[in-house]
Amino acid sequence: MSSFSDKGLLGELEQLVLLAVINLPHDAYAVSIRDEIESRTGIALGRGSVYVTLDRLDRKGYVRSWMGEPTAERGGKAKRCFRVTPAGQRALHGARAAIERMRQARPVRSER
């Protein structure tokens, strides 16, 4: 993966959020993403970090967003929904592969 600059690398938070967006193909928005991560990992992310991460992923082009329909239970406000872009998929794979390769490498034994 020599094509990865460090801009393309994903942080843990970004990976978690991306995976959550993939797991919620029809209804990925800030609240459901946070719930998804908490219910599967037990990690309760701060609201601020969820939004900032989504904002960053959006700017990097890893997710695409659109405004949903306003509903009454949301006080007549629309959701901002997300789905992962092919670039986001690639970044996720790349990050995972990089970690795997590092993990498989054996430390060089020194001579005694």
């Binding site: 928005y29 609201r47 601020g48 900032v52 406000k77 629309a78 901002r80």
Partner: protein
């Protein structure tokens, strides 16, 4: 719109705004459905991190507006300073510790002093209140603290003729308010006040109403206001209390209201007022009679100035009215004058000198701390001058350089301030816990932020000036040359001299404070180790006070006989108990209670009688008394059981009587006349400081209680070992034997502690001040010596390369430190000598120029200074010459 929604709408970028609001709304509804709290506060708390996160991310992306030029890069400066402070932890730690001690402890001490002594009186517009009273012209001192009570006719004339006061009120301490219903009988703290007193002090009742002038008439005066504390204590804060009655010895009163919490008058009283009843001018005080002995000075008067009237004008007016009265009734004013002072001054007047002393000490601490900060900043500036030169050479403006120093010293002071606040609040807690309970207004002690601010401002200003000095010098020197001579750069003689001078000042001030602390500690040590002449350990006392108001002589005699019989029976019962060693009763003032009674004594061998001098304190005692308190017998015998009413009248005197009235000759067998009866001296006992260790020994006479009956008194029980439990038992058995008589029980040791309480408090404060001063000064010495060594590393390296021994290097450093300390000590001791007069009044058993205190302080301070200098000295001795020379 709630705050949270407003924040989101204002600060979240447009592309997020609607969805964030919707998300939060959705979550809020969900929480509501789960039955959890989710109000506008929840919304705000949930929205805040989102607003911060998204707002910041936008801030980063968009072009930031430039700060105006002089302040661009301040954040960078802060980051650089933080890094610099972290990289020299020693300097940072020393500076923060100095600031913590200097600001924190002084603030704590001042907070306590302020609350106890300085705080404004707890009344509305207390600045316009004045104490109006009479003052004896025979008294040598005329000060606010000695404004006395007013005679009722004078008060009324002042009230009628004055034009300077908006209102004027007065009160007398009232007796006979003993409640005997319910559980324990209690002697209530009562005053009788004019209705106008409420106007003057602007008192509004917590419940019910106040009485009016219409009730200041005999027969209509059976109404009372009760204190808030009494209401809670005795009436369980009954909201329907108004209209109920309170029955005490002097009658039955209708309760018309409850006073606001904490009300007390006169202000010197430490115990809150329980009862206020209307003041009725006694019949015989309505007109001035020619009989001067009928003068009765009972009224404590206070007035509120009319707007625009000064205390001086009021004083002049009252003096004018009094002069008019004096022409009419010369007998009444030949030795009395009027006095008008700001009420606050009359309350804190007595402690003013002590306050000034403490404030001076606190100021010294602050000065030491500032000198220390100055020193540290100067040293640091010197150390950094190379860095500054480099930056200047690279084109940094003077302003930029100065600003980085400003930022650093502000950062440092901020750090110190945080630690100081913590230290101060901790200190206030400790002081509050260690103060004796009888110090007034203890509960109101809180951290005083004003002092902290003043102290912090002083520290910041010092830090800035001393930090900036090196940077501002930069415009002058030749940058290139300075850089070339880098290794020795900044070692300017002038600055070094300044720093040495600062150390000298610090040591001098610390010496001054330590001498003060030493004197106070020594006073206290002498005080508590003072021979009292009696043994207060294991003695429990119970004072019985059957105060009977308005009864006939016959009834009084009957009550006295009855009490005597009961007391005898009690003594008998207690003498038989296994845990008791001895029991007795005394009347006329329990030892260490602060009460005493005097009587004239006429000695046949020394006939001339002078009322001032020939007075003895008399006490009526039962036979076991001198055994219980362990007063040693010098000659003759103690009072015995056979000194009954019918037997020859006898008296036992103390050694002071022998010294004063018999020129040391053996008086046993001599007659003296006390209370109009000739009595034979049968014994001489040791002197006892019954009124506490500070009061000089008085002549005393002990009379058998059987031959000089009295009503009430104090039972004393000496327990074999531990007094715990005995006090409660004694109290209970007195209450059983004398139902309806108020009992106050304590132990002699407790009484002694109460008597020495204010001294212990003073010693604690001054001791703390001294210790802090020395700590800061020692830190200062350490800091300066450490920097000096660091700076002279190259020089020391050269010396060692040339053959100087490590010991010689140590001597070099220590010698310099000793020299500075010696000068500082000399100045400090000289100062202490000069200021001796201002502390003399607060000392006990030691003069303000006590050589042993001066000596001990010099040795202690010098030793501490040497220890502080020893650390850098050791470092100097370990300098590796090769590395020192190669370093630059």
């Amino acid at each position: 719109m709630t705050a949270g929604r407003w924040l989101v709408a204002r600060l979240v970028p447009a592309e997020w705004r609607e969805s964030v609001l919707g998300d939060l709304e959705e979550e809020q509804r969900r929480r509501h459905a789960q039955g959890r709290r989710a109000g506008s506060i929840w919304f705000l708390i949930a929205a805040l991190p989102i607003v911060l996160a998204l707002g910041r991310s936008r801030w980063r992306r968009t072009e930031r507006p430039r700060l105006s030029a002089p302040f661009s890069g301040v954040l960078l400066d802060i980051r650089i300073s933080m890094r610099a402070l972290r990289s020299s932890p020693g300097f940072t730690l020393v500076a923060v510790v100095v600031l913590t001690l200097g600001l924190g402890i002084t603030t704590a001490i001042f907070s306590v002093v302020d609350a106890v002594l300085l705080r404004r009186l707890p009344f509305e517009d207390a600045d316009t209140l004045v104490a109006v009273g009479e003052i004896s012209t025979t008294r040598p001192v005329s000060a606010p603290a000695y404004v006395g009570s007013v005679a009722a006719p004078n008060y009324q004339d002042w009230l009628r003729q004055q034009t300077v006061f908006e209102s004027m009120g007065a009160a007398v301490i009232a007796r006979g308010f003993v409640v005997r219903d319910g559980a324990e009988p209690e002697d209530l703290n009562a005053i009788r006040a004019t209705a106008s007193l409420f106007d003057v002090l602007r008192i509004r009742p917590a419940l019910g109403g106040l009485f009016t002038a219409a009730e200041e008439v005999s027969g209509r005066d059976a109404v009372v206001l009760i204190g808030h504390h009494l209401w809670e204590r005795r009436f369980a804060a009954d909201p329907g209390i108004v209209g109920k009655t309170l029955t005490v010895d002097s009658g039955t009163f209708r309760i018309i209201g409850v006073l606001p919490p904490g009300f007390t008058y006169p202000a010197q009283l430490t115990r809150p007022i329980d009862v206020v009843a209307p003041y009725v001018v006694p019949e015989r005080e309505r007109v001035r009679n020619r009989n001067v002995t009928g003068r009765n000075y009972t009224l404590r008067a206070v007035a509120r100035l009319k707007p625009g009237v000064s205390v001086e004008q009021a004083r002049a007016e009252i003096a004018r009215i009094t002069a008019g009265l004096a022409r009419e009734f010369p007998d009444w004013f030949e030795d009395q004058a009027s006095a008008v002072y700001a009420w606050h001054d009359t309350v804190v007047g007595r402690s003013r000198g002590w306050m000034q002393l403490l404030l001076g000490a606190i100021g010294c601490i602050l000065l030491i701390a500032c000198a220390n900060i100055a020193n540290l900043m100067l040293a640091r500036g010197t150390g950094r001058s190379r860095e500054l030169f480099v930056r200047a050479a690279l084109g940094a403006s003077r302003w930029r350089l100065a600003r980085s120093i400003v930022v650093e010293s502000l950062l440092l002071t901020g750090l110190g301030l945080v630690a100081a606040v913590l230290a101060a609040s901790w200190g206030v807690g400790v002081l509050r816990a260690s103060m004796p309970g009888n110090i007034p207004r203890l509960a109101t002690v809180n951290l005083d932020l004003r002092v902290l601010l003043v102290a912090a401002a002083a520290a910041i200003v010092t830090g800035l000036i001393c930090g900036l000095a090196p940077a501002l010098q930069l415009s002058r020197p030749d940058v290139a040359r300075e850089l070339r001579d880098g290794a020795r750069a900044g070692h300017s003689r002038r600055r070094e001299r300044l720093r040495s001078a600062l150390v000298v000042v610090e040591v001098a001030l610390a010496t001054l404070l330590l001498v003060g602390a030493g004197l106070f500690t020594d006073s206290f040590r002498r005080l508590v180790s003072m021979e009292l002449g009696l043994d207060p350990r294991h003695v429990v006392t119970a004072s019985i006070n059957p105060r009977l108001a308005a009864v006939s002589d016959a009834a009084f005699d009957a009550a006295r006989r009855e009490t005597t019989i009961v007391v005898d029976r009690l003594l008998e019962e207690w003498r038989a108990r296994p845990e008791v060693e001895a029991v007795a009763a005394v009347s006329g003032g329990s030892p260490l209670s602060g009460n005493w009674r005097t009587n004239s004594i006429t000695v046949p061998a020394k006939p001339e009688f002078t009322a001032e001098i020939d007075q003895v304190q008399i006490r009526q005692v039962t036979p076991g008394y001198l055994d219980v308190v362990r007063v040693p017998l010098r000659r003759g015998r103690y009072i015995r059981a056979d000194d009954t009413a019918g037997a020859p009248l006898v008296v036992v005197v103390n050694e002071e009587v022998v010294r004063r009235f018999f020129d040391g000759r053996d008086p046993v067998g001599t007659f003296v006349r006390i209370d109009d009866a000739d009595r034979t001296i049968v014994g001489v006992v040791g002197n006892v400081r019954l009124r506490g260790p500070e009061v000089a020994v008085s002549p005393e006479a002990y009379l058998p209680m059987a031959q000089f009956p009295s009503i009430g008194g104090t039972l004393l029980v000496r327990a074999k070992e531990d007094v715990s439990g005995v006090e409660a038992m004694l109290r209970a058995s007195v209450l059983r034997a004398l139902p309806g008589v108020p009992v106050v029980s304590t132990t002699l040791e407790q009484s002694l502690r109460t008597m020495t309480a204010s001294r212990r408090f003073n010693m604690l404060l001054v001791g703390l001040v001294g210790v802090v001063a020395v700590l800061i000064a020692v830190i200062g010495i350490y800091g300066v010596m450490a920097y000096a060594v660091l700076q002279r590393t190259r020089e020391i390296g050269v010396r060692m390369a040339l053959g100087a021994k490590p010991l010689g290097v140590v001597a070099l450093v220590l010698g310099r430190a000793s020299w500075l300390m010696a000068i500082g000590l000399a100045c400090g001791l000289a100062g202490a000598w000069a200021l001796a007069g201002s502390v003399e009044a607060f000392l006990f058993g030691v003069t303000a120029r006590d050589p042993s205190v001066f000596g001990a302080v010099s040795v202690a301070l010098f030793a501490a200074g040497l220890v502080a200098a020893a650390v850098p000295a050791r470092r100097a001795a370990r300098v590796d010459p090769i590395r020192a020379l190669r370093a630059e």
